[in-house]
Amino acid sequence: MQLTLFLIFGALAVAGAINLLVQRHPIYSALSLVTVMGALAVEYLLLGAEFIAFVQIIVYAGAIMVLFVFVIMVLNAGEVIDQPRSRIAAFLGLPILTLLAIELISRVYGDFGATTLAMGSPMVQTGPIGQSLFHEFLLPFEVTSVLFLVGVLGAVVLAARREKPQVVAATRQQHDQEKAMAAAQR
């Protein structure tokens, strides 16, 4: 039964990833990635990591991808017309990538072919994860909080509109007076 579940959701994840590549409109790519993340959450449950599975849904699928969808909506992104590109790269690219995948997978089989995993029980409890996070990994934890602060500041600074404050004079006379005063001060 575990094998069936693994195969079903693994196939769903791969199908979502292929759909991500095939779709032309970015919103469908984003939603395909959400499907991949959902399938991976089930895989995490099979591996006994229930906390990580739900955190994946809450953080990754429910916040990061929502950010992507918002940006696609706000930028009114549409389908991008393909530019004429190098033919050689197109012919060589996919075969080389398949070779990379085959190489990775064969290494994996060679080194870890023997180990089998039982269905994820007992599940990893949330308590030990929290303990580990706050004891062994305390420094990375605090560093990530600084990282978030920097990230938020960076995002606000980069995405905010720049408006130069303009002083608008009420009448033309006031405007001329201000200009004369500024010129006299220089």
Partner: protein, 101 residues
Amino acid sequence: MVPLSYYLALSAILFCLGVAGFLFKQDIITVFISIELMLNGVNLAFVAFSHALHQVAGNVFVFFVMVVAAAEAAVGLAIIIAVVRNRNTLAVDELSQLGDK
């Protein structure tokens, strides 16, 4: 009983598909999404090993990978918004000002 190598093979396939998207897609947002796909593939490998070795550290590391992905997505999307506002295009090839056009 699923062998560990199956999980790692799935992780490798997802990672390679992410690389494919990163290299072959024209749309800058889709390129970004492929980066997230690569990170997800790596997360799966972490969790699989965490279960195989009966250690909790793999799960905690996945947590950190998600945190980094979140920060990266926030800043990267802000950059994309700023770039699109200036150049009015989402195509990666048109964003480069190097070389001759």
